[in-house]
Every structure is written in C-alpha cells, then in structure tokens.
C-alpha cells in the first residue's frame, strides 16, 4: 500500500494544455475518485500516474518516491481499463497469469495467486474460457482479477463500469466496494458518473478543464459545494439554480427572485448584488416552507420510490421537486412550492460559494 503525491503537475500536447498546476495528496489506503465531464483531464491524470503518459511538468510520487522517470512496470501498480484490455486469444487463466510471468514469480506462486483471485472474484468456473465467451460483467471481473494477482500497492481504474448495462453496473459497484474493504489498498478511480463517485469514494476530486474544482468527501461535496460547477455536477436529480438580486437591509438582505415574492436572507459577506441561489430538489416541497412561491406542474415523472415534479414559476423558470412516490399531483395542477432558508446554497457572480454570516460571529 502507498499514498500518492501530485505536485504542480501539468500536461501539454503541443500548444494544448490538458492539466495545469495540479496538486493532490492521496492518502495510504484511500479510495479516491476522479470525476468530471469529458475532456476534464481525469483519464490523462490517471494515465500519468500509471506511467502511460509523460508528465510535462511537476512531480508525481508514489510511497514518497518520485516516479516521473520510472517505467509503468516499476511503479508497482495495476490498472483496470474501460475496455477490459483482455488478451482475446488467451484463456482467463492465461490472462490472469500473463503479467506475473514477467516478474520473477515462481510458477507455484503464480498458480496460488491466480487461484486466490479467481476465488475472490468467483470466476473459478470460467478459467478455461476465452474472453469472447464471457459476458461483460465476467470480463470486468477477469480484468479486476488481473489487477489483483499483481498484489500492487496502488490500483488504478479507468471508467471500468462504463461498458456495462445499468443493472450490472450497480452490482459491480457493490462488488468493487467490498473488494476495497477487503484489500484496503489505495485505489484511484476515474469516472464521469457522479453516482459511482458518490457511492464508492472515500474522497472525490471534481475536475474541470484540467483543474481541481473541489476535493472532499461525498458528503462535503453534496452539502457544501464550493462552486456552481460542483453544485450542478454532484447530486441527482440536478440541483435547482435561481438567479437572484439582493438589496442589503438593516437586518440581513432582501432577495428578489423572478416569479417568487421577495424574502429576507441572513447577511452574506459580499457586496455582490447578483447571486445564484441553489436548492436541491429534495429540499423543495409542495405546499409549505419558510419561503413560498406559486407555480404550475409541467411534468410528472414517476420513479417508483419518488416522483419528480417539474414546476414552472410564473417567470417561466422550471424547478425540479422530488416528491414521494404517492404524490397526488397531476400535470397542469397549480401548486405552491416552498423551501427552508438553511437548505439554500449561495454563490456569487463568479460562481464561488458564499457562507451566510452566522449570528454568533456577528455578535463577536
């Protein structure tokens, strides 16, 4: 097991800069998820850690040792690819053993490790099959098995579940989580799926345009997104965003949102008058709340355990409201929607989070 340090790392392809001055500390035994939209540099970063891409600037250290010039095979890590990267002409057994045979591992030890990995991943009955005779989930297990047999100090996963269907993805997600609990090895996991990130990570790094937007636990990212991008990226269904104008009064500020009555909010440490207010669909309610506004139901999406209501304010803006599965509302119903002030997230005109000034600190 090993921790990993990324210092001022950049990656350029000619004039095109993919990653700029990135700093990151990954703790020993941590499950770190790199998440972000396509082209944010998450896979590139993973490939630099793996040794499959050169590092244009900065240093990457594994277990305290700088690995910039170390070939991939000497970094003591294993990688699971999105495409599985199984050798199509070899049986599962040979696929598992192939990598080990490059290192001076005795054949008895190779056999032991292969058998152990097969047992952990429950693929013992598939050992003599070729990859083409396996289902997507089985292929992915073999790919993970190939990573396990190396007994690496670091596991890298590059969108390993993207090629699986939805049901299998949920199942493999749970299996990966239990594998992590069992091995306790440092794992770095790249995905564009925020649900995967939220469910598996010890900590999540949200990347955009080659820069870290936020680093934190899933709870931190969900409850205290540092900027509008993270607020919008993390959480499903997507957070509601309202453009607002504030005017400062004697006791806090008054907020105007188009389509809603004005309401007072706690003091904010900013003179910015243009704000974005965000509120999660689960924090919006039909009928009550400290702040209320009128709207009309445009669409009802029934999901079983919950129902998503698309409610249009008189301004035309549509808010998503998560109601329970037994919702009585129908399309076209006029409703009142409401929320409580503590559930609001405030962002300034540059998109950065602003924390309301607490009463206690005001008193000081």
């Amino acid at each position: 097991m090993a921790g990993l340090t990324v210092r001022n790392v950049g990656k350029r392809y000619g004039a095109l800069s993919i990653i700029q001055g990135l700093n990151l500390d990954i703790h020993d035994g941590e499950f770190l998820v790199l998440v972000g939209p396509s082209g944010c540099g998450k896979s590139t970063l993973l490939r630099m850690i793996a040794g499959l891409e050169d590092i244009s600037e900065g240093t990457i250290s594994i277990g305290g040792k700088v690995v910039n010039d170390l070939p991939a095979s000497k970094r003591e890590l294993s990688m699971v690819f999105q495409s599985y990267a199984l050798y199509p002409h070899m049986s599962v057994r040979k696929n598992l053993a192939f990598g080990l045979q490059n290192f001076k591992v005795s054949s008895a030890e190779v056999e032991r490790r292969v058998a152990e990995a097969a047992r952990i991943l429950q693929i013992e009955q598939l050992m003599d099959r070729k990859p083409r005779q396996l289902s997507g989930g089985q292929k992915q297990r073999v790919a993970i098995g190939r990573a396990i047999v190396r007994e690496p100090q670091l596991f890298l996963f590059d969108e390993p579940l993207s090629n699986l269907d939805a049901e299998l993805r949920v199942q493999m997600r749970a299996e990966l989580a239990s594998l992590y609990a069992r091995l306790g090895t440092t794992m770095i996991y790249v995905t564009h799926d925020q649900v995967e990130a939220m469910t598996m990570a010890s900590r999540i790094v949200v990347l955009r345009g080659g820069k870290i937007e936020q680093l934190g636990t899933p709870q931190e990212l969900y409850t205290r997104p540092q900027n509008l991008f993270v607020a919008g990226f993390i959480g499903s269904p997507k957070i509601n965003m309202l453009q607002a104008r504030t005017t400062r009064g004697s006791d806090g500020s008054v907020v105007s949102v188009a389509g809603m009555p004005d309401f007072a909010i706690p003091d904010l440490p900013t003179d910015d008058q243009a704000l974005t207010l965000c509120v999660r669909p689960s924090s919006l309610r039909v009928g009550n709340g400290e702040v209320k506004g009128d709207g009309t139901i445009r669409l009802v999406e029934y999901l079983g355990s919950e129902t998503l209501l698309h409610i249009a304010l008189s301004s035309g803006q549509v808010l998503l409201v998560s109601d329970n599965g037994r919702t009585p509302y129908r399309m076209g119903d006029p409703v009142t929607i409401g929320f409580d002030l503590p559930d609001l997230h405030y962002f300034d005109s540059t998109g950065q989070r602003i924390e309301p000034i607490q009463k206690e600190s005001q008193a000081q």
């Binding site: 499959l52 095979s73 000497k74 990688m79 690819f81 050798y87 190939r146």
Partner: protein, 297 residues
Amino acid sequence: MKRFFARNAPAYVFLLPWLIGFFLLALGPILASLYLSFTRYDMVSAPRWIGWGNYEYMFTRDRRFWKALEVTFTYVALAVPARLIMALGVAMLLDKGLRTIGLYRAIFYLPSLLGASIAIAILWRQLFAADGVVNQVLAMVGIQGASWITDPDTSLYTLVVLAMWQFGSPMLIFLAGLRGIPRDLYEAAEIDGTPRWRQFTRITLPLLAPVIFFNLVLQTIDSFKTFSSAFIISNGTGAPADSLLFYTVYLFNEAFKFFRMGYASALAWFLLVIIATFTAIAFFTSKYWVHYENERD
C-alpha cells in the same frame, strides 16, 4: 419462370457485361484449356485427343518440367517469407504514428505498383549486372561482386530480393491489421512489465494471425504465378542454365514459342492443382494457429 424473368430482367441487363466477360473470357477459355490439356494442338491443325498423354509426358519424361518446379518452389519458399517479414517490419515502423504517414505509405507502396512492370525488371537487370550499380557500390568497399544475374548460383536470389522490395501491398494490409489491435492491450502489457519482444510474440503475432494468414495465402498464390520479372531478366529463356526457369516461363515458352498448346494447357492445369493444394493446406492448418476474435466455439 416467365414472372422470374419479368421481375429480374433489369438486373440481368445490368449484369450482362459481366456475364459476357465471365462466360466468354474466363469460363470459356478455362474449359477449353481443360479440354486442350488432353490433346495435341499446335494452333494450325485441329486438336487431336491423346488422353492422359500430356500428363504422362510431364511427370515421366520432361526433365525441364521438374527443373521448373524446383526453381519455382525454391523461389516461393524464399520470396514469400522474405516479403512478408519485410512487409511486417515496415508496417510496424509506420504504425508508430509518423505525421506524414500518408506520404510514406504512398512511397512504400510505389515499388509494388512498379515492381510488376517490365521497366523495373529491366532496371533490376541493370542493377545486378556484372558492371551494375550493386557491384559498383561493392567495389567501393573493396568487394569484388559476382555477376549476379548471369551466375546460375545467384540469379534466383536477385529475384527474391526484387520480391522483397515489392512489399507494399502486404505491408498495407499488415498496417491495417496492426491498427486494429487495441492500444489498451499494449498498455496493459506495459504496466505488467512485458518486454517488447514478448509483446510482439505474445500479443502482436497472435492477434495479427488472420492478417498473416490472408497475406500468406495471397502471396503464395502470387509467387507461384511470378512471370514478367523472371521472363525479362532471363531474356525469356529461363537462362542462365535454367536457373530462372520459372514454371510460368516454361509454360509460356511451350505455348507461344513452340506452340505446344495442349501440353501448355496441361502444365497450366497442374499449376492450378499445386496452388489449390497449398491454399488448402494453409486453410487446414489455420485452425491451429489463426485466432479470430468473433469466431464461435
């Protein structure tokens, strides 16, 4: 029947040029030559049926036939592997992702287009002549070169070198095959510390097997049929000392120099049997060494 023609008439109209070509220019002559191979025919008098006579003569009394077989088999055994190895080597170099790859592809393909031409065969004769460029270059480093083309011991090898130089078409096919091998496999191998040579033997070669097989069959057939270069370089005779007496050159001479059309037809049919046998062997053994990604077990 009537309805069938009514419905398909336009299709047959469009197919007509091909049908005429196939029956008149391909199938007709093929069947005619099969018939002629059992006759004595000098193109002046009518063919005379002699049964298996031509074949009997071929196998039991014609020494030059056996010499032609020996020359051709030696050539195929050397030229096919040489050309395929050369083609694969160049394809692997090009696969490394050169920026001007289109240009290089064109340049490397050029010899294959030119190679079959008469001009190149003449050029080859000049290059390997006693006072040719090859010997002039060798002389510069103090080596007295042989008279490559007129020496029966070396003449065949100059043609093998020519064959090697014409690697363009199998190279392009290899290149497409290499491009089809997912990069991930090499990256996974890289992380697992697989040395380059092992990557080549354990990943590249097995995954390229269908393409190697395809090229092998095509090049073998092609090499058995080699004619124009051997014909030009040996002045149409198979000289020196029959060392360039390729099967096709012998066949050509029997047909168009000595007008033994019946015998030449028999020779042609036997060449077909040889090529078919080799192709069949290749297909039969392929199941032991060719892996197809999508095959069903």
